[in-house]
């Protein structure tokens, strides 16, 4: 199967093509095709996984694509255990989301288009995972970004949704610029972008360390953008304007994890370059802490989950930064399952309550038994309670940080674990328990249809058990499957396990006291720590900071150009009047006068030129014959001179 693993990726592409060209009008058929394709991909991935278990590889296959003298761009597949695991994650979550969307998107006017986009996304994500060179990864990376943009802005009638789509696209592009630059550096130094060849050269010490550091950090910029790491994390919470299944698939489980995947793929650089490693580790740590703190006080159910995602991604990046290859990718896997579950659960809640605001919910457990139970399971898992999935992967991360001796990072990680437990259970208690705070919402709430609850149950099952493959006592568990260079099989560290559990339990306990028992009044707490509360409530003022610096600078720059364009006299005459309105008009005028002016100018020149040239075509056949002889004479003269 591994040899033909490209079929895994192409099935969803086929589904996309079929839906777009033939079944855009037939909703049932369209969704049926998409689901069949993704489930088949899942089955094939499972076969490939078993084959990889038998032989870890890496298996490398090359297919000639463009070969001309001096340039060779093969399409290659690089299949190692990490690929197998990622394929499982992507196809499982994608299958669940495909099925779940049957219920969630039911009745949407662009139902089949939604499935087409989902298929296209799945294709690009699988392509990204399978590709055997940085170059092809980059192509799929961009394709993934594009489909993510299409899906965030799926309900483009909502201005916030289309704005969020644009924000996501532009912010991640900044990171991608770094990625591209990193690739250029790497290509310049190594002369190839194939994973296997690059790894080989690094192993043989053929590339100077300083260049590796630069390439590593630049490529990591791509991961910063895609995985919403500090300081480019601002787009992910806004991306929650997309349909919830999309948030679950793309902005929780798979696409944002692509950054982590990429970071894992450059592990050989991280190992060599201490600077790159520490940059990565600390960016992860800062992100984990910052996002968790913001998550403590948000009231939009999806935004809490979004910040939780950012925070957990920071965790994984931090683990990879301290060379915890196994730990980071293991958490990536478990997180995908429970975070997808959380998002789909949240979608189920929103579907029932028609609001995102958790302050208006409450007591929904009675109305939505399945959703609430699975949501609690996922929360326990993400909090890291024994023996759920999250416990094992979090413990693995603690262990690898401890192993490398970064005690400050370890303390931070434990603190974030406590915070995670707190905000998750704040969310649970506010949503599902206590009195109904908004009677209207409560009254209309109902359990979601089976197409939505079955994926929840399935994912709940995975949230409990998927992590067991990584138990430290297992001889042939996860750590002897996905590893970097040598299997790293640490003995169980009971102290760390207990510390982690205590942190999680105290977080849950605090949330219980504040939001279930109401023994501590959250409002009073907020008032007591007002400066801190305001600071984190406003998301550390990141949006304002960017608005005040980067975007303001852009505005200012536009203004400068604008004045330059207008000329001195015009500027003097209009000075007073324009001064008052420039704030609102700058963007628009810049567009109209400078950008459009330049474009129209070139266009006008072309059209004018065309108008002159086409007059040669008089329509009289003898004139044409004359031009032919003139051509002969001119060519002759041209040659003789």
């Amino acid at each position: 199967m591994i040899k033909y693993s490209y079929i895994i990726a192409f099935l969803p592409l086929l589904s996309y093509v079929l839906i777009v060209f033939f079944f855009s009008k037939r909703e049932k058929t369209a969704s049926g095709i998409a689901i069949t394709a993704v489930v088949s991909s899942f089955v094939l991935s499972l076969i490939a996984l078993f084959e990889t278990l038998a032989d870890h590889g890496p298996h490398i296959f090359e297919y000639e694509w463009i070969v001309i003298p001096g340039l060779k761009l093969p399409l290659s597949i690089f299949f190692d255990p990490l690929t197998a695991v990622m394929l499982m994650v992507v196809t499982i979550v994608s299958s669940c989301v495909h099925i779940y969307s049957l219920g969630y998107m039911h009745g949407d006017p662009r139902f089949s288009r939604f499935y087409a986009y989902l298929s296209l996304f799945t294709f690009s994500m699988l392509g990204l995972v399978l590709s055997g060179s940085f170059f092809v990864t980059f192509i799929f990376w961009e394709l993934v970004g594009l489909t993510s943009y299409l899906l965030i802005g799926f309900w483009f009638e909502k201005k916030v949704a289309s704005d969020a789509g644009k924000k996501a696209f532009i912010t991640t592009k900044i990171g991608d610029l770094g990625f591209l630059a990193g690739l250029l550096v790497l290509y310049w130094a190594a002369g190839t972008l194939n994973y296997s060849e690059v790894y080989h050269q690094i192993e043989e010490n053929q590339i100077p360390a300083i260049i590796l550091t630069a390439a590593g950090i630049l490529i990591f910029c791509g991961a910063i953008g895609k995985s919403a790491q500090f300081p480019l994390h601002v787009w992910l919470p806004d991306a929650m304007e997309g349909p919830t299944p999309v948030s679950a698939l793309i902005h929780a489980a798979t696409m944002v994890a692509a950054g982590v995947y990429l970071t894992a793929r450059i592990m050989s650089i991280i190992v060599v370059s201490h600077t790159a490693a520490m940059t990565i580790a600390y960016i992860g740590a800062i992100t984990a802490f910052m996002a968790a703190s913001i998550g403590l006080v948000q009231n939009d159910i999806k935004r809490v989950l979004a910040y939780s995602t950012v925070s957990q991604l920071g965790y994984m990046i931090m683990a990879l930064g301290v060379s915890g290859y196994t730990a980071g990718t293991f958490h990536l896997m478990t997180h995908a399952f429970f975070k997808a579950l959380l998002f789909l659960g949240a979608g189920s809640v929103i579907h029932a309550a028609h609001t995102n605001d958790i302050q208006q919910m409450g007591g929904l457990a009675k109305k939505m038994p399945i959703t609430s139970k699975t949501f609690f399971i996922a929360s326990l898992s993400i909090a890291g309670i024994f023996p759920l999935s999250g416990f094992w992967s979090k413990d693995e991360i603690f262990a690898s940080i401890y192993h490398e001796g970064h005690y400050f990072l370890l303390a931070l990680a434990v603190l974030v674990a406590g915070m995670t437990a707190f905000y998750m259970f704040r969310l649970c208690f506010l949503t599902f328990t206590g009195e109904a705070r908004d009677y209207h919402v409560y009254e209309h709430a109902h359990e979601s249809p089976k197409t939505m609850t079955y994926p929840l149950i399935f994912l709940a099952f995975l949230s409990i058990f998927a992590g067991w493959v990584g138990m430290p006592w297992l001889e042939h568990g996860y750590s002897s499957f996905v590893y970097f260079e040598h299997p790293h099989h640490a003995a169980a560290n009971y102290v760390l396990m207990i510390v982690g559990t205590i942190a999680a339990l105290s977080g849950i306990f605090l949330a219980y006291q504040m939001y279930y028992k109401r023994a501590i009044d959250p409002v009073k707490m907020g008032a007591r720590f007002k400066p801190v509360y305001t600071f984190i409530y406003n998301k550390w003022y990141f949006d304002e900071l960017y608005m005040g610096t980067v975007i303001k600078f852009a505005y200012w720059f536009m203004e400068v150009l604008y004045r330059f364009d207008q000329g001195v006299i015009d500027w003097f005459v209009n000075f007073v009047g324009r001064f008052g309105m420039f704030n609102s008009r700058v963007w628009q005028t810049f567009d109209v006068y400078v950008v459009d002016g330049a474009v129209n100018g070139a266009g006008f020149m072309t059209r004018w030129f065309a108008g002159g040239l086409r007059k040669i075509q008089t329509g009289a056949v003898q004139n044409y014959a004359f031009v032919i002889f003139l051509g002969v004479v001119l060519l002759m003269l041209f040659k003789m001179i």
Binding site: K615, Q617, A620, Q622, A625
Partner: protein, 102 residues
């Protein structure tokens, strides 16, 4: 003595007369005849070269026979189109026909 140069000059002149007719004749039949002149000037070349350059082979002369055939075919189709033109436009003047331009 008539040399190769004489033939070549004759053919060049004939070719130029053909061009002149092609560019100035109004009547479509006249235009077609001018084109025939151009073909025949090439034929003179072929035969002259055949006689002076490759006297042992007949390639040039055979080429000329082929050209005569082709020119006949071309003239046939050309005259058919002229008839068509007369039917549709009620004229055989090529300068009248310029509906399509620019």
């Amino acid at each position: 003595m008539v040399t190769l140069e004489h033939y070549l000059i004759l053919s060049a002149l004939l070719f130029c007369v053909g061009i002149f007719g092609l560019l100035t004749r109004r009547n479509a039949v006249g235009v077609l005849m001018s084109i025939e002149l151009m073909f025949n000037s090439a034929n003179i070349n072929f035969i002259a070269f055949s006689k002076f350059i490759t006297p042992e082979a007949l390639t040039g002369q055979i080429f000329a026979i082929f050209v005569i055939t082709i020119a006949a075919a071309e003239a046939t189709v050309g005259l058919a189109i002229v008839v068509l033109m007369y039917r549709n436009f009620n004229a055989v003047n090529v300068d009248k026909i310029n509906f399509m331009k620019w």
